[in-house]
Amino acid sequence: MPPKQKKQKELVQDERLQAIVLTDSFETRFMPLTSVKPRCLLPLANVPLIEYTLEFLAKANVNEVYFMCCSHADQIQEYIEQSKWSTSGSPFKVQTIMTLESRSVGDAMRDLDNRGLITGDFLLVSGDMVTNIQFDKVMEAHKARRAVDKDHIATMVLTQASALHRTRSHAEPAAFILDKKNDRCLYYQDIPAADGKKSSISIDPEILEGVDEFVVRNDLIDCHVDICSPHVPAIFQENFDYQYLRKDFVKGILSSDILKKTIYAYITDSYAARVESWQTYDAISQDILARWAYPVCPDSNFLENQSYSYEGKHVYKEKDVILAQSCKIGACTAIGSNTVIGNLTTIESSVIGRNCKIGNNIVIKNSYIWDNSVIGDNTVLDHAIVASNCTVGKNVLLDKGSVLGFNVTVTDSQVVPRDIRISGKFVEAGEPNFDESDSNLEEDHTVAYDYVGENGIGYLYESEYSDTDDEASKPVNSLMYQMGALALSDESIASTSQNAVKHKKKRTFSTNSVATATDHEDEDFEKEAIATVVRALENNHDLDTALLELNTLRMSMNVTYHEVRHATLFALLGRVTHFIETGTLNAKEATDKVFKQWSALFKRQVFDEEEEVDLLEIANKLTRSREKGKQILLYVISIFYDMEIVSEESILKWYNSSDVDNEYVAKFVQWLEEAEEDSEEESD
């Protein structure tokens, strides 16, 4: 009977397991190195990162692997085609998908959906993780839960660690809120780092309905291994503003009333971590060397031509390593073949690639030297990274957290200070790493002579984080970043907002003073109003709903429109800053995106000229201390002007009455005045 046969065939087809590997992280944390090579091809313990993912997939009995390639797609394609995974002995079929336009995980997922490759539940992994998870158990758990809960669309594999575990990324800490009974994920929230600042996770009690007990986990390593149902790409397609897998997708699913889909967590004790910052790069390298991730370790020789052998005390050596008699190789060290190490040199907790020439009397501590580099005599490397084909002269100091990109030359007796990154060719900060950056090589960017010396080659890479005021963001991505004792300090009172101080005073000095009581009310209003607007922004409420909520709040708290404007503007600007800080959009795009959509809110908050002036003044004050505040202010004002929220007259009035120290706005005002004159002339 032919029909029956067909049916069987279909069943067989359904059982093949597909894996989608996101080769791009859509982040810039490994700049400037990622301007030359994609993150997943950077070597970790002398093996390109993607190999760890592929080994995992091979063990997981995956049948088909698709690589979503974006930045440096050609390099990845070439690598895959030439690797053992493309040979006939490969356990799975590999295919690279060029999705060059993608700018986020969300874009890649939408592209995936468009291509219609997905046939069943698939495994979604990023190309930069290291794990020894037993995948069959995860799949079993996924299927068991699927049988019980048909709305189950994704299982996230999470590893148990501690809050400040070294392999846990400190760059994007996040808490998972899970049902204690079955590990159903109820909520996901990225949280601020443990810096003693007061903040909170706000959970809508509706989400918690029917849940007796839930756990709040801030001790899980999220290595982005997910089993997803075919619904997942489709949901990305429907919600075209989803960018991130966790922040947007998971949170969106969980807080959506309409979708009614569920996501579960699978918590494992196995090793799993993602190389997503220098800090985790360091931690994972050390873990591999110390065999925590067994069987993932150098002597597993993932690459066909590798010949590492284990020599006790976690020292690994390939064939043809030439060690001088008096050199000292400490614990947790791996050295690639044809590398020469000179007399009296000390190496510990470090990885050195192939064909390196390490001179005499050098100290290498906790550092990573990739292939073909030359290190001169008497040099000291401490927590440093030296990429391939670098030349480091004699008596050089590479201080903690310093990074030398590909093809950098540092001449004799130079000092590369802490957290300085140097690249072989000029790379502009903030440029997304998924751009081919050859075009950025311009003549007027001078070589960083201060660091590399007169005859050196290298350009200073200015991380987009380095010039922000936000101290926390800078060390997060340093190799040296180590979380000290939990700084839940009492000093934090000093750093909390003025409101907090006010409030504290109220508590201690007076209990029933009328004046302070109103203060308190304002503060409540502000907090709530900001929360309302932020919610509206995040969940994309429609304008009317947001307006209604704000209005109700205003009336119930009996505050003036001034406060409403202040709170609204504060929240909107916060959103803009968020976009800028995360590097998703530049100042203009971010301001356009937020204000073009939401400025209409002010139409119901601003009624006469006086209030328009007031609005502008609030904007002026609020942007003053922000990063790129001057530009933002200009964009905001021009949007207000275009949308006729403020009139020309009010802008001029405001500009003349208030002290505006902003050259952009000055130009704008000048233009306005001229335009006015023009029109007057015309009318004359």
Partner: protein, 436 residues
Amino acid sequence: MEFHAVICCGKGTGLSPFSTVRESGIPKALLPIGNKPMIEYVLEWCDQAPFRAITVVSDSESNAAIEELLEKYRSKRSKEALVCPIGTVKFDGDATGEILEEFIQDIENAGDFVLLPCDFITDLPPQVLIEEYRNRDDEDIAMSVHYLNKFDSIDKKNLTHYYTAYSEDQHLLDIYSKDSVEQSKFLELRTQMIWRFPNCTVSTKLLDSFIYFFSQAAISIIKKYIGEYKNQSITKMVRDLARRSWRHSDQLGGISLFTLPKQCNFIRADNIPAYIESNRYIMKLKAKEQQQPAQAKEKGAATVGADSVVGENTQLGERTSVKKTVVGKNCIIGNRCRLTGCVLLDNITLQDDVVLENCVIGQGATVNSKARLTNCNIEGGYIVNKAFQAKGETLTNLFIAGQESETDSDDDDSEEYDSYEDDFDDDFEDDGLFER
């Protein structure tokens, strides 16, 4: 013997209209469970320990009545056993936080003390709690006792008041009241807490037993800040003590959390369904104990189930059946009445053919013939009309039924008391408490 027990007798807001919240009511501590004032169960439980001393805290209105009861209780106590002195303290504040202020001076150097509610019944011996407290971590300064509701008939709505956050190693971290969460529309978990205790559980089913053990260290901290708690509840004070464990850079001693084992029964008669349930629980125990063969009874006489109790001087009419019901003293029950799962306080008159199911009838109330009530609460002194039928209603006196009122009550009914679960102002800012 190292503990000083403090029994707090509340107003009984949850037990309205039978408590002194209403004029016709009687003090909560004296409301009978199985025809015995509820506080006696607590006193008996304390005497199992025994404690160093017991102090009963009540408002001045109820004080006299409680004194009277204590007098009786003292004489009932066995003479040989070690017994501790029982004292009373009058307290007329609005919030429980003030209770401690009354006598914190006296207990300051006297050792640990334990705070008890006046409304719990349990088969768990106090030694279990005391041992648990003694075995706490050295740095812990207090212990808070929680329980899970085991009685299905008590509606969840009447119980769940809190989100209780606790750590993996059973320490209380934070408490949020459901009301405040509903008000602010969000449950706000502090990230500070999540960093210090990265794997914590938040429960909605854990119930606060209002049993707290405080160490000397806790007392001296409380003493320092007692002024702050003038208008706050003890629960809030405990919450602030619990927050100490994560809101400071040095880890300060926290509060250990003990959840009562599943095997034991624990019930707090602080709302009406729980009050009915606790009566049934006592009846069940009694029925188990007696196990006596059914006596041959006269024909036509009233039947009283083994799981029921009828008080002194109460007359039961012919062919009346009483099941799972407690009938108080000096009641007159007419013929052919059917009482199932009810609690009748003292001096109640039921005329013929009354059918009551799951009702609580206050003192001196009258139910005229052929009335049929299900799940109703009848305030003391209320007169139910003939053949009246109702389901799930609370019938209260609209006007002051002076002559009917049997209570030794007072004229001051205007005082609006906050319940013990008074609202938390879930403020975010560090309120400067407990800092060092």
